[in-house]
C-alpha cells in the first residue's frame, strides 16, 4: 500500500455497499465458484464504468472518476482543497477541532470520507424493461459487500491522482474479496468478506486486509502469520487482530467509552525531563458507568477494567472488559473469596487484581510494594523504563484508594518526577473537556503498584513457545507496608491542544 508521508497527509477513505447477487443453478463447488467469480467480475466492470460516482460526505463535491467529471472542484487542485467544501457537524464538544489529530507516530492525518454511489440515470433513448421469469429449483446468493478503501495522499497529490488511487484500491479490494469468499466457502455457507485497516509501523503505513466476517480471530491465525511474513513484522506482537484495526480520527467508538483521554493534555516540562507514556489504546472506565453505582468502593474494579481494555484493544485477548460481577465471580472461582462475595460492594486490592488478570485474561503480573513516597520517587527510572519497554498501564492501590498510572514525566538529572494518573473516581458523563480536568489526582495516599509484563502472554500463547520471563525474586519479596505515606502527586497541568 502507499507509504505514509510524514508531512501533513490526507487519508482518502471510500466506503459504500455493493450488491453481490447471483443465481446459483448448481451448488457443486466448481460451478458455484465460477458463478461467484463471474459476479465479482461484473462488479469490477461496474466500478470501472462511467456510472460510478464518488461523493465527498457532507459536501456538494461529486466525482465521476471514470469519465473525469468533477463537480464543484477542479481535478488539478490538491486534495486538501476538498476540506473547504466539507460542512462539519460540530458535534465535537467546546469547538475542539480534532480534524488534525496527532497520533502516536507524530503524523497528523486528516480524513476525507467519500461515499461510493452508482448513477442510475443515463442518456436516452433507452430500451424498455424486460421481465424475465426463470422457474428452476436453485439457490440465490444475496449479500452486500461493505467496500472500505483508504489511501494516503501527500500534499502534492492532486484530486485526480487521489481518485485514481482510490479506484485502483477499490478494484484490488474486489479481487481480495473474491479470493476470501472462495477460500472460506463451505458448501452453501458463505462468509461475507470484510475489509479492515491496520496502521503498521514504517515503512508499511496504512494497510487494508480483507477478512471473512463472523470468523473469530483465533481461526485466522494462518492468515495472520502470512501477513506478518509479508510485511516483515515481528511474531510476538499482534498487528492484525480485529481489535488492532485502525481507528480513524473523528470516528466515534460504538461502545461509547472514551479512548486515551490523556492525549488531550499538554505535558509538563522538567529540566532535562522526558515524558514516558502508556503505549497503545485503552478505554477510560470510572465510577457510575454501565449503570453500575460503585461510587466509593469500585475504584480498583474500574482500574482493572481499564487495564483489561488495554489488552483487548491491543489484540492480546478477545474477551471484553469484565463487569464487576464477573470480576467477583472470577475471585470466587480461584478460591480467593467466598461465594457470598459476588454481588457485594467489597473493595479489592492489588492481589485480587493480579488474580483476576491471571484467571480471566491469562495475564501474569508483577506486584511491587512501596513503603514510602520517597521510595516511589526513586522508582522513576523503573517506571520510565516500564513505559518505554512494556507500555502497559499501571494500577496503583493502597488503603481504600486505587488509581491508574498512565505515564511519568521524569528527569534523569534532577530526579524530579510527575505522574500522569487516570482517576477512576470520576462520576460524570463521557465528556472530554470535563474529564481532562479530572484525569489528574491530587490526594496523598499510600500505594502499591502492579506492573504487567506482556511478553509472557503473547509468546507463550500464540507461538506455543514455553518461555517464562518471570523476573526472579518476585515471589515473597515483601517490603514492609501499611504505613501511611504522604506523597504529593503532582498533576500534569491541563491544557487545550
Amino acid at each position: 500500500m502507499v507509504l505514509a508521508d510524514s508531512e501533513s497527509a490526507v487519508i482518502l477513505r471510500l466506503r459504500g455497499p455493493l450488491d453481490l447477487k447471483c443465481q446459483l443453478d448448481s451448488i457443486d463447488e466448481v460451478p458455484m465458484q465460477k458463478a461467484i467469480s463471474r459476479t465479482f467480475e461484473a462488479l469490477r466492470l461496474q466500478v470501472k464504468s462511467e456510472s460510478c460516482v464518488l461523493a465527498v460526505c457532507n459536501s456538494p463535491v461529486l466525482i465521476w472518476p471514470n469519465k473525469s467529471v468533477f463537480e464543484e472542484i477542479t481535478p488539478d487542485a490538491p486534495c486538501e482543497d476538498i476540506f473547504q467544501f466539507i460542512q462539519t457537524d460540530d458535534k465535537e464538544t467546546s469547538g475542539k477541532r480534532s480534524t488534525k489529530k496527532k497520533n502516536k507516530k507524530g503524523v497528523s492525518a486528516s480524513v476525507i470520507n467519500l461515499s461510493l454511489m452508482m448513477e442510475a440515470t443515463k442518456p436516452g433513448p433507452v430500451s424498455a424493461p424486460i421481465l424475465t421469469r426463470t422457474v428452476h429449483k436453485s439457490h440465490l446468493l444475496c449479500a452486500t459487500l461493505p467496500m472500505d478503501c483508504a489511501v494516503w495522499s501527500s500534499c502534492s497529490d492532486t484530486i485526480k491522482d487521489g481518485c485514481e488511487r482510490l479506484m485502483k484500491a477499490l478494484t484490488c479490494q474486489l479481487f481480495d474479496m473474491e479470493k476470501v469468499t472462495l477460500q472460506c466457502m463451505k458448501g452453501t455457507t458463505l462468509r461475507v468478506p470484510e475489509p479492515l485497516h491496520f496502521l503498521l509501523p514504517e515503512p508499511n503505513g496504512l494497510v487494508t486486509v480483507v477478512f471473512p466476517s463472523g470468523v473469530l480471530d483465533k481461526e485466522l491465525e494462518a492468515q495472520r502469520r502470512e501477513l506478518h511474513g509479508q510485511f516483515e513484522l515481528p511474531d510476538n506482537r499482534p498487528f492484525f487482530r480485529r481489535a488492532n484495526a485502525y481507528h480513524f480520527p473523528n470516528e466515534t467508538y460504538r461502545d461509547g467509552y472514551l479512548r486515551n483521554p490523556h492525549t488531550f493534555l499538554t505535558h509538563p516540562t522538567l529540566d532535562n525531563g522526558k515524558v514516558y507514556l502508556v503505549q497503545g489504546i485503552y478505554s477510560y472506565h470510572h465510577y457510575m458507568q454501565d449503570r453500575m453505582d460503585d461510587n466509593g468502593w469500585g475504584c480498583a474494579y474500574r482500574s482493572l477494567q481499564t487495564i483489561c481494555s488495554w489488552f483487548q484493544q491491543q489484540g492480546y485477548v478477545e474477551r471484553g472488559v469484565p463487569s464487576h460481577k464477573e470480576i467477583q465471580q472470577a475471585l470466587v472461582e480461584v478460591g480467593d473469596k467466598q461465594a457470598s462475595f459476588v454481588g457485594s460492594r467489597q473493595w479489592i486490592g492489588s492481589i485480587e487484581v493480579q488474580a483476576v488478570l491471571n484467571h480471566l485474561l491469562g495475564v501474569t503480573s508483577k506486584i511491587m510494594f512501596v513503603s514510602q513516597g520517597s521510595e516511589l520517587a526513586s522508582k522513576g527510572r523503573e517506571l520510565a523504563n516500564h513505559f518505554m519497554t512494556e507500555g502497559t498501564p499501571i494500577m496503583i492501590g493502597g488503603g481504600v484508594l486505587a488509581h491508574t498510572i498512565l505515564g511519568v514525566a521524569w528527569s534523569e538529572t534532577t530526579g524530579e518526577i510527575r505522574y500522569l494518573i487516570l482517576d477512576p473516581h470520576y462520576t460524570g458523563v463521557e465528556d472530554l473537556p470535563v474529564i481532562t480536568e479530572k484525569v489528574a489526582a491530587t490526594e496523598s495516599h499510600h500505594f502499591r503498584y502492579i506492573c504487567e509484563l506482556k511478553n509472557i502472554l503473547y509468546a507463550s500463547r500464540d507461538l506455543n513457545v514455553n518461555v517464562d520471563f518471570r523476573r526472579a525474586g518476585v515471589a515473597g519479596k515483601d517490603l514492609t507496608f501499611g504505613i501511611k505515606l504522604h506523597i504529593t502527586t503532582s498533576v500534569c497541568p491541563r491544557g487545550r491542544e
Partner: protein, 430 residues
C-alpha cells in the same frame, strides 16, 4: 382561507361545450398540479360512456368514475395528477355536493391504493370539486380534505387564465432498472410471482426515494428555487440525475434456496412538469422520484393484469420466459405549453391503438405523427424453454479468476454488442 385554483382557459371552453351538448349529468376529472404554493388545473376530461350501465348513464356511477380516474392517473407524467371531479347537472346544489364528495373520496382511495411511494408531509391533501349548472353556467367550487373522513366542504376560488402552463418547466431523465427477486420454492405459479414482484418493487421504491437527485449536474439545497418560468413562452428543459446505493442485506444466510427468480431489467424515461411560480428543488426531486416509481410500477401492474399464459411446470428442467414491459409513448397536450400525457404500448400494439385510448380516456384528438415514441425502444426478447442466462465467455477452461482479465475483455465485448437489447450481465453495467 380556501384554496385558489388557477385554471387554463381551454378548460372553460371544454366545460361549456359539454354543457350545451349533453343531457343528463356529466361527470369528469380535473387534472393539474397542486402544491403548497399554488394550485393549477390544466386539463379536464369527461367520464367515458359506460355502455353496460343499467340506466344508460342517467345516474352517476361511483365505481365507473373511479376506475376511469385510476386509468387516467396512469397516463399522467410526473407533476400532473387527478385533482378532483366535476359534474355538470341541473340538480340541487346540496345533493350534488354529496355526490361530489363521495366521488372524490372514492377516486382518491382507488388511486392511492396503487401508489408505492410514501406520502410526504408537505403533500396537499385537498381535492377539488366543481359543480356546473348547464342552464345558468354558474360554477360552484369546493374542496374536501381526503385525509380526513369527516371533512366538510370548504369554499375555493376558481379563476380562468390563459397560458397557465406556457412557461412550465420539464424535468426529465432516463433511468436504469435492475431488479431481481427470488421465487419461493413451492409456488403456485403466477400468484406468487405477483406478490414477490410487488414486494421487491416496494423495496426498490424506497431505494429510489433515498437516492441523491442532481438538477443540472448539481445537488441543490432543498429550498433553492429553480430557474423556471422566467421567460414567458420559453420552453425549459432541466436534466436530472439520480445516484443510488444498494440496500444493505441483513439476512443471516447469504445463500438461500429458491424456486427460480424474476428479474426486471432495462431502462425507463421519466418526465415531470413543474409550475413556473418559482418552483423549489425539493418539489422537482419529489415529483421526479414519484414518476420514476410510478412508471415502473404501472407497467409491471399492467403486465400482471394481462391474462397469463399458464405454462406447465416442467420438473427439473429450467424454464425461462421473457416478456417485454410496455414502452412509454408521449402525446402533447395541444395549446398547453410543454405538457404531454403518456400511455404504454405493448409490443403487439400499434400506435393507432394508442390514439384510440387517448380519445377514450382523455377525450383528446391526436394524430399518429403527434406521438413521441422515440424515448423508449421496445427491446428484443428471446423466448426459449431452457436458456442459460450467462454470457458466452464463461464456457472456457478453468481460468485463474482473480488474475486474468480474459473474462473481463470477453464480457465487455459481449455487452457492447448487445447494447440495445436487454442486458445479460447479472448486475447491469450502466
Amino acid at each position: 382561507m380556501g384554496r385558489s385554483y388557477i385554471v387554463e382557459d381551454d378548460v372553460e371552453g371544454y366545460l361549456s361545450r359539454l354543457c350545451s351538448l349533453l343531457a343528463g349529468p356529466v361527470t369528469g376529472l380535473l387534472i393539474g398540479q397542486s402544491t403548497v404554493q399554488r394550485d393549477f388545473v390544466v386539463m379536464t376530461t369527461r367520464t367515458p360512456q359506460n355502455d353496460e350501465s343499467a340506466d344508460g348513464g342517467k345516474s352517476v356511477d361511483k365505481e365507473w368514475v373511479s376506475e376511469h380516474a385510476r386509468q387516467v392517473s396512469r397516463m399522467l407524467p410526473g407533476g400532473l395528477s387527478v385533482l378532483g371531479v366535476f359534474i355538470i347537472s341541473e340538480s340541487d346544489a346540496k345533493d350534488t355536493l354529496t355526490t361530489l364528495r363521495q366521488l372524490v373520496f372514492s377516486v382518491e382511495n382507488l388511486i392511492s391504493s396503487e401508489r408505492l411511494w410514501t406520502p410526504a408531509d408537505d403533500d396537499v391533501t385537498d381535492c377539488v370539486t366543481l359543480h356546473v349548472n348547464p342552464k345558468t353556467r354558474k360554477t360552484v367550487c369546493r374542496t374536501f380534505d381526503v385525509k380526513d373522513p369527516k371533512s366538510v366542504a370548504k369554499p375555493a376560488d376558481w379563476k380562468y387564465q390563459s397560458g397557465v402552463c406556457s412557461s412550465w418547466a420539464t424535468v426529465s431523465c432516463c433511468l436504469s432498472v435492475d431488479l431481481m427477486v427470488p421465487l419461493p420454492e413451492n409456488m403456485a405459479f403466477t400468484r406468487n410471482m405477483n406478490d414477490c414482484l410487488k414486494e421487491e418493487l416496494k423495496v426498490w421504491a424506497q431505494q429510489i426515494e433515498r437516492g441523491v437527485c442532481l438538477i443540472d449536474g448539481k445537488k441543490l439545497p432543498e429550498d433553492s428555487e429553480l430557474k423556471a418560468g422566467q421567460k414567458k413562452n420559453v420552453r425549459q428543459t432541466i436534466s436530472a440525475q439520480l445516484l443510488i446505493t444498494p440496500d444493505v442485506q441483513t439476512a443471516a444466510d447469504v445463500v438461500q434456496r429458491c424456486g427460480g427468480c424474476v428479474s426486471v431489467r432495462g431502462a425507463i424515461h421519466s418526465r415531470v412538469f413543474l409550475h413556473s411560480n418559482k418552483p423549489k428543488a425539493k418539489l422537482a426531486e419529489k415529483l421526479l422520484k414519484r414518476d420514476i416509481v410510478s412508471t415502473v410500477a404501472t407497467r409491471v401492474q399492467m403486465l400482471l393484469e394481462e391474462p397469463q399464459k399458464q405454462t406447465e411446470e416442467n420438473k427439473g428442467r429450467k424454464q425461462t420466459e421473457q416478456t417485454c414491459l410496455p414502452r412509454r409513448v408521449f402525446c402533447p397536450v395541444k395549446s398547453s405549453g410543454p405538457l404531454s400525457v403518456c400511455d404504454y404500448q405493448f409490443s403487439d400494439e400499434g400506435l393507432s391503438e394508442m390514439i384510440d385510448r387517448f380519445k377514450e380516456m382523455l377525450d383528446m384528438d391526436a394524430a399518429e405523427e403527434d406521438l413521441d415514441a422515440t424515448r423508449e425502444i421496445i427491446a428484443e426478447v428471446v423466448e426459449s424453454e431452457a436458456t442459460e442466462e450467462e454470457e458466452p465467455a464463461e464456457e472456457n477452461e478453468m481460468l485463474d479468476p482473480w488474475r486474468n482479465n480474459y473474462i473481463g475483455v470477453a464480457m465487455a465485448t459481449a455487452v457492447a454488442l448487445l447494447a440495445l437489447a436487454a442486458s445479460i450481465v447479472y448486475l447491469s453495467d450502466v
